[in-house]
């Protein structure tokens, strides 16, 4: 890869839109080229500046107007749309209710949640639940060092009934992420962790194919947990994990 290629692909690189091969080639080039490193750093700094701008939230009166009965009446006056709405409710209503309260990062929340479940299922299918198998947080945490560009918070929750089983690396939303694995009886719980995107999402709960997904942001980290554990015990796990941070 040449400096001209980097110039062309710099934006896609910082936006995590490059495929893995191009990304790797570009990273290799950056190791040897100070000028291109500067170019990339400048782009990253520019993005940070833009994201530091205050967010324009919708004024309350606008929210009230949008949700006002007058707006609704327009809706009800349209019979074909009302029928369409009924259809949506009966067919897709469940999905709509599960829809997340907010979106963020580079993908929609639904997409991330589905990827999380896929990652968890895949790890069970190919027996790749763990790359490092240890109940000791002091073994698991250093294992991640050097493999990730952030340090995931590793806590043992054995005293709460959720012993640590180990960790692995997964690739999600176009970036490598840490996965901590805990167990409750025979149920593995995967905890996906990576540095949170700039905007906070509301906590989220999602269920699909018998798996429950829970998400929140804490201490600058985005937490996504997935398990086939029942909802009550999984909520207990979430509380213990949140309290340990």
């Amino acid at each position: 890869m040449t400096c001209v290629d980097v110039e062309l692909e710099c934006d896609a690189f910082v936006d995590h839109e490059l495929d893995l091969a191009s990304r790797t080639a570009l990273q290799d080039h950056l190791l040897d080229c100070r000028e291109c490193r500067q170019r990339v750093d400048d782009r990253v700094a520019l993005g940070r500046l833009v994201r530091s701008l205050p967010y324009h939230t919708a004024p309350d009166n606008l929210r009230a107007r949008v949700l006002a009965p007058a707006t609704r009446r327009r809706f009800r006056r349209m019979p074909t749309l009302a029928a369409a709405a009924v259809l949506i409710l009966s067919v897709g209503g469940g999905a709509a209710l599960l829809r997340s309260p907010s979106m963020g990062g580079t993908s929609g929340v639904d997409v991330v949640a589905a990827d999380i479940v896929d990652g968890h299922v895949r790890s069970l299918m190919v027996d790749h639940l763990l790359d490092v198998q240890s109940t000791d947080q002091h073994t698991v945490k250093p294992w991640f060092a050097g493999k990730l560009d952030f340090s995931p918070p590793v806590r043992d929750l054995a005293s709460s009934g959720y012993p640590l089983a180990g960790g692995r690396i997964d690739y999600l939303s176009k970036r490598p992420v840490a996965v901590l694995v805990y167990r409750r009886q025979q149920h593995p719980i995967s905890v996906f962790v990576w540095p949170a995107a700039e905007r906070e999402l509301l906590p989220l709960t999602w269920s699909t194919r018998g798996f429950h997904v829970k998400h929140w942001i804490q201490g600058g980290m985005s937490f996504w947990i997935v398990s086939d554990l029942n909802d009550a015990e999984l909520s207990g796990f979430v509380r213990s994990l949140q309290a340990s941070q």
Partner: protein
């Protein structure tokens, strides 16, 4: 039967819709009007909505609402041509000693972004502030991904050069 599906889909994205509209229009009053009109349109077209990202879908409607308004008003100022290079940052009247450096930075960055032609401004807002993927941005602005990429690159180049002229930001950029 209340339109529950609409209520579950649109209100959560109202802040994002307003933020995008605010960047498109440049002022609160227009942004509020555009979002309100967009929500009425969203209600009307809700049944025809394809499955997918509701937020990006709402952005598309906000954008179309705004540009059709601009066209009606014939306000060339709001739809700065992509060829227009008169992008000198406005001289922001502020007392440097009265503001913290961070506040200055915010004012400068906001001003520089506001001065960008809308074609560049909106892709930067959608990417950096709203975190949309290239594919999602392409859907919102109804253009090929290649256009998204080139506008992002050119827009960022312009933004960076505008900010380099602002001495307080040199430390942030270099």
């Amino acid at each position: 039967m209340p339109p529950r599906a609409f209520d579950d889909t649109i209100p959560p994205h109202l802040d994002a819709a307003f933020n995008y509209a605010r960047w498109l229009t440049g002022n609160d009053a227009d942004a509020e009007d555009v979002v309100q009109d967009a929500c009425v349109r969203a209600l009307r077209f809700f049944g025809a909505r394809r499955e997918g990202d509701a937020r990006a879908w709402l952005f598309t409607i906000v954008r179309n609402t705004w540009y059709s308004r601009v066209a009606r008003r014939g306000r060339a100022r709001d739809a700065t041509s992509i060829e227009d290079t008169s992008g000198e940052p406005a001289d922001v009247a502020l007392d440097p000693e009265a503001l913290l450096l961070q506040q200055q930075a915010v004012v400068r960055v906001r001003s520089a972004l506001e001065q960008l032609p809308s074609e560049f401004r909106e892709v930067i807002v959608l990417r950096e502030i709203e975190g949309l993927s290239y594919k999602e941005i392409a859907a919102v602005i109804q253009a090929p991904i290649g256009t998204v990429m080139s506008r992002l690159a050119r827009g960022r180049d312009r933004l960076a050069s505008a900010l380099r002229q602002a001495p307080t930001l040199v430390g942030h950029l270099r």
